[in-house]
């Protein structure tokens, strides 16, 4: 096993204004399996994920992000990262097992952009996860947009370099790509990977902290991005932009909003990243092409709307 330490994005907990409306969106439109509903929270798993859940929705009077979590390879990694976080001056809370169903103990920390992250090592396996003996491509044919997995989040805040620094120096992530204003050296977007993917989390500059720009789901193909677009039109889902492609990460993508206004992305493709790859960068004056490779222009909505 070459991938050690933090191995993958695990789950995200989002606030929604109406849980029932949100369940229809995430289960029937995006196509996730509804695992359980308990105490005002709904838990979902994508059909190609092995673990119990990857999306948690909590009914609240605001939309937005509660927390995002990464899975580490083994339990002792939690102590290792807790120590390194403390050494870096980052406050750490230890959350005992049982806060979320089926999840072991967690290490919780905040970033300078006021985003809350959990690290955990153990989650129960899903009852509807992929087969492993003579595995069919799926157990039951996927619904809706046929999202294969929760893939990443993009988060908005002020000092994104300081947040990214924790991921690089403490959690051993790599910066795969960034959007830079060369005149000031300011980072406008930072894309980070703990794995072989072009990104597992991204930070985007924004005048207010603690915001989430989007929660993203992987699809199998560009054709599936078109299918997602058909579902968005058929069911009058609020469209942001797409189908299009990103210059950064090269993902083929479509953006839309859940019924509470949280932005979702479904995408396919993107390059593979290896830790010896040189860092890619886009100059701020080419931000249009970096973000929307075909349109070559940013939109106000994409840059300023978040929850």
């Amino acid at each position: 096993m070459a991938l050690t330490g933090v191995i993958s994005p695990g789950y995200v907990q989002l606030r929604v204004l109406d849980l029932d409306e949100a369940i229809v969106h995430y289960r029937d439109r995006i196509g996730l399996n509804l695992v359980s509903v308990e105490d005002g929270r709904a838990f979902f798993q994508a059909f190609d994920e092995f673990d119990r859940h990857s999306i948690i929705l909590r009914e609240a009077d605001t939309a937005g992000l509660d927390r995002m979590a990464f899975k580490v390879a083994k339990d002792s990694d939690l102590d290792h990262f807790a120590e390194r976080l403390l050494d870096a001056g980052v406050h750490v809370d230890v959350i005992p097992a049982g806060e979320d169903p089926g999840v072991g103990r967690k290490i919780r920390f905040n970033t300078p952009t006021s985003h809350v992250f959990d690290l955990y090592a153990e989650m129960e396996l899903s009852e509807t996860g992929p087969a492993v003996r003579n595995p069919d491509v799926w157990i039951a044919e996927p619904r809706g947009m046929r999202a294969t997995r929760f893939d990443h989040c993009a988060l908005n805040g002020v000092d994104i370099s300081a947040s990214a620094k924790i991921f690089v120096e403490v959690l051993d992530f790599s910066v795969t790509e960034e959007l830079v204003d060369e005149s000031t050296g300011a980072r406008l977007g930072i894309f980070l990977s703990c794995s072989n993917k072009a990104h597992d989390v991204a930070f985007l500059g924004y005048p207010e902290d603690g915001r989430i720009h989007h929660t993203s789901f992987n699809l199998e193909s560009w054709h599936d991005v078109g299918h997602a677009a058909d579902i968005i039109s058929r069911y009058d889902i609020s469209l942001d932009i797409g189908p299009t492609r990103h210059g950064i990460t090269r993902g083929q993508t479509i953006y839309f909003f859940d019924p509470s206004g949280n932005r979702n992305e479904t995408f396919s493709g993107g390059y593979f990243y290896y830790p010896d790859n040189p860092r890619r960068m886009w100059q701020a004056e080419n931000a249009g092409k970096a973000i929307f490779y075909y349109e070559k222009a940013l939109t106000d909505r994409f840059m300023t709307v978040n929850t």
Partner: protein, 93 residues
């Protein structure tokens, strides 16, 4: 789906029609008008924040981080969550 249509006028801007049971922001988009900013269309982002200065309406769920209870009482709403019950006069910004 629209029973009875209401006239929505924007102070210092244009006007468009909105069915009862239709959301004001979506009616604006459908009519090709653009006086109000369009974001998430879900009551979460706050971009479509306006004040209704005349007329009756009902609202769906709106983020309290974008419209507080006091603001709501003063007529502030998120246009993507407003259903007109009569003709409306709306102030943007």
């Amino acid at each position: 789906m629209t029973t009875g249509s209401h006239r929505i006028r924007i102070v210092g801007g244009g006007e468009f029609s909105c069915g009862e049971g239709e959301r004001v922001l979506l009616a604006m988009e459908r009519c090709g008008s653009s006086d109000i900013g369009v974001g998430c269309r879900g009551g979460g982002c706050g971009i479509c924040r306006v004040r209704v200065v005349g007329g009756d309406y009902t609202t769906g769920k709106m983020s309290v981080a974008k419209i507080s209870e006091t603001e709501r009482a003063a007529g502030f709403v998120l246009a993507c969550r407003v259903f007109p019950v009569s003709d409306l006069l709306i102030e943007v910004g």
